[in-house]
Symmetry: C2
Subunit: 342 residues, 2 copies
């Protein structure tokens, strides 16, 4: 649809209290702002600007959300975007599909994501019903790499190291949180093998539940799936495999993410995923504020890696920097006008 | 966006118990099917097929929903579609924006649409926040012409006769229902002038509340608005004027609707609306099942008139018949496969 052959991009957007643990995530300027980030990302992809969210998300150091890159690629290629509610905590102006997911609590609590099994099942039915030949699935959830780490451990997939939206991956803090998650939950590491919905329920997040259900259903019905993201999408793939769905898929991520995760290639191969790594080339002076990505902030998110892979397929990768700067200028200009009350 | 300059098409989708009164609406094969029609229309526009809805809506005589025409034009032009929940009674697989609207009750009850004032206000804020230069607004709600008739009378806009999705407009039945609505409600005909939210609350439907709020807000923020539909969109325009928003807009409808409503031109002019009437040319043998439209079934709905106006602007009006037949073939084929359980 949408005047191009580009596949539908599906963004699963949600939140957890885990994401609000100090120092866990860079997906927002403050702990309160974090709760608005997924809805704001969804609005950016849908409308090209925020509509109900208070502001365009930035990292604590001012790096813009990867959603501006995905939106820029959308303006170049014209693909459809469908947002699925993976547990949004704040109202969004973006249209969303509901599969019953609610915001996740802190995984250091006993049963933090009790909507996970239902959301996994409803997401799977939705994925089966999609008429698309091919979809790109991405995520936006602050703190998602920590819950992904816990889920991988619950599945017994220990080989995979998860990334971070921070330049310095706070691995010790994450491991500590994951340890506490298992200490408080009913499952031990490895014990949720073949029961993905339990891994997500006891130590995960609602976005992983919805995305893995959706991907499992899409693959089962013969839809080609590109996982557009980093280690959270790797966790989605692991959940899909543990749900007994073997059909191959693709993991499309950014060069910034790939550079941050040793062993990404072997991890992808172990899950029968073709790996595509795209470099948007933000490491040049002309990229201005986008150079923060090249410095390791953000790295991936809101299907950025999937969008870049589509831009590359279409031979438009070299147009992404300018298109992204245009989106940034536009939203910044409108933000100023709102502040002036125009 | 979406690779074309076509404006965003916004579909407001909802239901009322008024629509389930026997003989009021043709927007479904049965009284139960009626409740699924708006969600199914939303899914058709979004995905090109139904996803959660049980079937593609047809009239009792088998005429397909106008949504297949709007979808076909979307596949020709590649415009964005945004669905706003105007009181859906059944789950839909289409992503929807919530402004707090709930399904309407029967207008013969005392206070049938108590969510109307809140939905009008939230819809207005959403409309103001839209960054689009131009939007097309359409509706899908069974029984909508009857509630539109009551709302126009509540506003004191009596000159306007409303249309019908049935070949023979059941005007006597509608007038009877409208009389009972006023008999049971707190307002008299004409008494809701300048208080549109009360007209919609006491004798209207949630789609009129959401659509008029959205259009008022969009016009107030300088967005150009095309009302894509018939007499229900005329009622939306009347509500917007009574909300004190004078900015001109366009009413884009089908030749089938225009042929059914004497005085449409003067009514549009009285509300400061430019009138655009498009003929999809379904009155030829090659149009096959679409000829039912030319016979007066359906006539308008799901932004069909607005989509045809966009096709005409783009010089693609003559491609609409084939594109619509393609959509029909595709969904019919998939429906057969589902029935066979493939």
């Amino acid at each position: 649809m949408s005047g191009s052959d580009a596949p539908r991009v599906i963004l699963v957007a949600g939140t957890t209290e885990t994401g609000r643990i100090d120092g866990i995530s860079a997906a927002g300027a403050s702990r309160e702002a974090l709760l608005h980030t997924p809805g704001a990302d969804a609005e950016l992809l849908t409308f090209g600007d925020v509509v109900r969210a208070p502001a365009v998300p930035v990292s604590p150091t001012g790096c813009p959300t990867p959603a501006v890159v995905t939106r820029a690629v959308r303006e170049l290629l014209g693909f459809d975007v469908t947002v699925v509610d993976g547990g949004l905590a704040r109202p969004t102006g973006a249209p969303t599909v509901s599969v019953g997911a609610k915001p996740g609590r802190d995984i250091r609590e006993a049963d933090p994501v009790h909507t996970a099994p239902g959301a996994f099942t409803a997401g799977r039915e939705f994925g089966r019903a999609l008429p698309d030949e091919r979809v790109v699935v991405g995520e936006t959830i602050p703190g998602g790499t920590t819950t992904a780490m816990a889920v991988l451990r619950a599945l017994g997939e220990d080989g995979i190291e998860t990334s971070s939206s921070l330049p310095e991956n706070p691995l010790d803090l994450k491991r500590e949180v994951v340890e506490e998650a298992f200490a408080s939950s009913e499952i031990e590491p490895g014990q949720a093998a073949h029961t993905p919905e339990l891994a997500v329920r006891f130590v995960g997040d609602p976005v992983l539940a919805v995305a893995s259900g959706l991907v499992a259903g899409a693959l089962e019905s013969g839809t080609e799936v590109v996982l557009g993201g980093g280690t959270q999408l790797l966790a989605v793939a692991a959940l899909v495999r543990h749900a007994g769905v073997p059909r191959p898929a693709t993991l499309a991520t950014t060069s910034y993410l790939a550079g941050d995760v040793p062993g990404l290639e072997s991890a992808a191969a172990a899950l029968d995923l073709d790996l595509t790594v795209s470099d948007p080339g933000f490491d040049v002076p002309a990229a201005g504020p986008l150079s923060a990505f090249a410095d390791g902030v953000g790295k991936e998110g809101a299907a950025m890696g999937g969008a870049l892979a589509l831009a590359d397929e279409a031979g438009r990768l070299d147009a992404v920097t300018d298109a992204t700067l245009d989106v940034l200028d536009r939203v910044t200009d409108r933000e100023r006008k709102r502040e002036r009350g125009d």
